[in-house]
């Protein structure tokens, strides 16, 4: 199709979320002229997310006001290759954002670091349990970058967010009250941990009595007035209970607009275009590099933006989609198990435990925050002995109080009917007497869970939809069941609890469903590594096949760890940017030999 060619820029960045705006900030300051292409609208935390209008459960939590429009872009889904994938006609299981700030606007602010062993999952398990320990049907692999290498970058992102928490490992010394399993921190959190409501406190006390190690959840819901290293001002969280699926008008949840965009928007090297839908990446005639991107502007015109360097900073799934429709890299073929783009798609394995208190414990679920929780990490990663368990991986158990929005939050004991008088009575009786626990588990990669292009359906731009083939691996079903039962033990130990119920979304016999919300932690599909046969990008986030294309986001994860992805993926982003700034841009070339 004919398109207008725009003046060349140094760097074009696809997507104006956490990674894209951060790339623009860091690269603009090294003299690179950056153009950010954002598919959604301009918006600002101050003017767009103010209360009380933002506190509209229907508009934002249930009708997905800040999320991407599936009329324009969606995917098809099936559980296995023998099914026909059908369009995800409505959002449900996961909620990618759109507009300035991307999904970084409606996140909860749970800001984690990977465990050192998470980043070397295959070699860690083989080293501890023997070479044959990992089953053949898992395509688990090392990230190719170590915790020590990422630590300064993980630390810096925590400073950008003004994270609140309590270090459990300061320069190798364990501290009770923090996460004693975490990797060494070079410094404590920039802000103190959040205040905890009664249900979370009772959970922590019970966990301690069981010999476990509870600690406050690391939080990007800021606990004190704070200025980040870019000069952004953040305010103390109000515990309003409208974090996840909402923007924060209090400037109290770190987001890419206040933390990054405001600090770069006036820079002479920074340009951002809204309603700029990138359609494909163009390759040079020899295919070794990319020459720029074609996008559609607000008027429907197609424009070509040439650039020396390309940063793919879309939501992970759409990075993979762009690679597939642009012919970047080699698509993964599950039949031959060759190719890499779309390989090792993984998710997050979620289970829930509900504790119901007697009348002596009144909770106030509407006083909440996205990262308001007390956590036990004793059953995450390889923090516990897996010798005889029959699975690898794990998850954290958190008692959290993140919202009491009355459509979304209707805890009722097991056996309650789904409607009618008994249901109504149970909703009324339990709303203020409930402890809310989640088991946030890892997700291993397998040869049968992958992304490719759909043969039937197209998006609003005429491109084939992405096709997702995914079901819970048996490994994760067992893992989730095991960790959930540990959470049940804690719940039963909690004071004043009258009943406990549990629900494993990955229970035996239960196929993954695209319908109920689980998490927006879609990972993999363009994974990082040291072997071009099994990774799309090298350990610096640079595409093996096109050295001027750098890839950001959770699509890089070779399998999913038991933590929320924003912290780890931003650690990777700063690691990649460091190597771009100090090495690649002076001498553009492949940074590793294929």
């Amino acid at each position: 199709m004919a398109y207008e060619t725009l003046p060349k820029t140094d760097v074009v960045i696809i997507g104006g979320g956490w990674t894209g705006l951060t790339a623009a900030y860091e690269l603009a300051h090294t003299g690179q002229r950056c153009v950010v292409l954002e598919r959604g609208q301009k918006r600002h935390s101050v003017t767009s997310f103010g209360a009380p209008e933002e506190h509209d459960e229907l508009k934002y939590a249930l009708r997905y006001g800040h999320m991407q429009d599936v009329k324009k872009e969606t995917l098809t889904f099936r559980n296995s290759r023998d099914q026909q994938a059908l369009p995800m006609r409505r959002l449900g299981s996961f909620l990618p954002g759109t507009g300035l700030g991307g999904a970084g606007i409606h996140w909860n602010g749970q800001i984690w670091r990977p465990l050192p062993s998470d980043l070397a999952m295959r070699s860690h398990y083989e080293g501890r349990y023997g070479a044959g320990f990992l089953p053949d049907d898992l395509s688990i692999q090392d990230w190719g970058v170590s915790y020590d290498e990422l630590e300064p970058h993980l630390d810096f992102f925590e400073r950008i967010c003004g994270a609140g928490g309590y270090a459990g490992n300061l320069n190798g010394a364990a501290r009770a009250g923090g996460n004693v399993f975490e990797g060494p921190r070079s410094a404590d959190y920039p802000n103190p941990a959040m205040k905890q409501p009664i249900s979370n406190t009772l959970f922590g006390q019970a966990a301690e009595r069981l010999g476990l190690n509870p600690f406050p959840m690391p939080s990007a819901n800021v606990t004190k007035a704070y200025e980040n290293p870019y000069g952004a001002q953040l305010h103390p969280c109000t515990y309003c209970g409208f974090c996840e699926r909402f923007g924060c008008g209090y400037l109290a949840k770190a987001d890419p607009i206040i933390c990054v965009y405001d600090r770069i928007k006036d820079h002479e090297n920074f340009d951002i275009r809204f309603h700029a839908q990138v359609l494909r990446v163009e390759k040079s005639s020899d295919g070794r590099t990319a020459t720029g991107v074609v996008y559609q502007d607000e008027d429907g015109s197609e424009l070509f933006q040439p650039a020396d360097t390309i940063c793919m900073s879309a939501f992970g799934l759409w990075n993979v989609h762009l690679m597939l429709v642009s012919g970047l890299g080699t698509p993964y073929d599950p039949e031959t198990r060759t190719g890499t783009v779309g390989r090792n798609y993984a998710y997050q394995t979620i289970a829930a435990v509900d504790a119901f208190f007697d009348d002596s414990v009144s909770t106030t679920p509407f006083m909440g925050a996205g990262a308001l929780g007390v956590v036990v990490d004793d059953f995450n990663g390889d923090n516990f002995d897996h010798s005889d368990l029959g699975f690898v991986g794990g998850g954290y158990i958190a008692c959290k109080q993140y919202n009491g929005r009355p459509v979304s939050y209707q805890p009722v004991p097991e056996g309650t009917p789904a409607w009618g008088g008994a249901w109504k009575h149970a909703v009324r009786e339990n709303y203020g007497h409930h402890g809310d626990m989640v088991i946030h588990g890892s997700s291993v990669s397998t040869p049968e869970n992958y992304l490719d292009l759909d043969p039937t359906w197209t998006d609003a731009y005429g491109r084939p939809l992405l096709r997702m083939t995914f079901n819970f691996p048996d490994n994760d079903r067992k893992m989730s069941d095991y960790v959930m039962n540990r959470a049940v033990e804690i719940a039963e130990e909690m004071d004043n609890v009258t009943s406990v119920s549990s629900f494993n979304l990955a229970a035996e016999g239960q196929d993954y469903s695209i319908v109920p919300y689980q998490t927006t932690h879609n990972v993999g599909g363009a994974v990082i590594g040291t072997d071009p046969q099994t990774s799309v990008v090298n350990r610096y986030g640079q595409m093996w096949d096109h050295h001027n294309v750098f890839v950001f986001g959770a699509c890089l994860f070779p399998q999913n760890l038991g933590y929320n992805p924003t912290g780890p993926l931003m650690g990777l982003a700063y690691w990649t940017l460091e190597h771009m700034k100090t090495d690649y841009l002076q001498n553009p070339r492949p940074l590793m030999d294929a």
């Binding site: 209360a51 009380p52 229907l58 009329k71 309003c240 308001l372 009355p406 009618g420 109504k424 709303y431």
Partner: protein, 230 residues
């Protein structure tokens, strides 16, 4: 809605039994506000269904709290028209895990579904007493068949979800009248600032509810009266 004045002489003629919010609306029987989308017949059918989902007890029933008004507004606006819904064909049948695969936006889904049920051998829901209505809804929830081309399960889930939303979402959308749902659970609403008390279990009383457009001097209009005798 054409309503004969004085037809409310017997309370059996109207689904909504008296409760405080309703009592404020003494002239409800004269309510002639037109619906935005549904017909009077559909409104009566929806009210009968919703009041099985959320019956009256110490707190209002669904229709008393404006859930039919809420559903009507939803079907008339973006949600009903299919905003946020990918409707490109073809439409082969899928698995439960693949979600919504009906070739209609929700407003058409619900209109066709209700018409399909009413045209079937099933008894007229609106003519049944409350106990028989409960049986009807229980059977509908288990129904694996289709009405016209609408799977009963899809219709049922959509209506149950809408009813729940209508009872508990902000009153700016016409449901949750007089904060019925919020008062029931103790949700204080959209104006939220709890920094000074989140960790104090001694201060756990819910403040009185305040919605987005809260104005003590200008309450939203009460729900329409829904009668079954016309």
């Amino acid at each position: 809605m054409q309503i004969a004045p004085g037809a409310l002489a017997t309370s059996a003629g109207i689904l909504a039994a008296p409760h405080p919010a309703f009592a404020q609306h003494a002239l409800a029987q004269h309510d002639a506000r037109p619906w935005a989308f549904v017909t009077d017949d559909e409104a009566r059918w929806l009210a009968a269904l919703c009041d099985v989902f959320i019956p009256e007890d110490d707190y209002p029933s669904a229709s008393q709290a404006g859930v039919v008004d809420y559903i009507d507004l939803q079907l008339a606006t973006g949600y009903g028209r299919g905003d946020g819904l990918y409707l490109e064909g073809p439409f082969p049948a899928g698995t439960q895990q693949q979600g919504y695969q009906v070739p209609y936006p929700p407003a058409q889904l619900i209109r066709r579904g209700i018409a399909g049920i009413r045209a079937s051998d099933a008894p007229d829901l609106t003519a049944l007493d409350q106990s028989a209505r409960e049986g009807f809804v229980e059977r509908l929830s288990q129904d694996t068949g289709t009405y016209d081309d609408i799977p009963a399960k899809v219709l049922f889930d959509e209506l149950l979800g809408l009813t729940n939303q209508g009872y508990f979402t902000d009153p700016i959308y016409l449901g949750n009248y007089d904060y019925a749902g919020w008062k029931m659970v103790g949700f204080p609403g959209a104006h939220a600032y709890y920094l000074d008390r989140v960790d104090d279990p001694g201060r756990n009383a819910s403040p009185p509810p305040m919605g987005i457009a809260h104005d003590r001097a200008a309450q939203p209009r009460p729900p329409r009266a829904i009668r079954k005798d016309i």
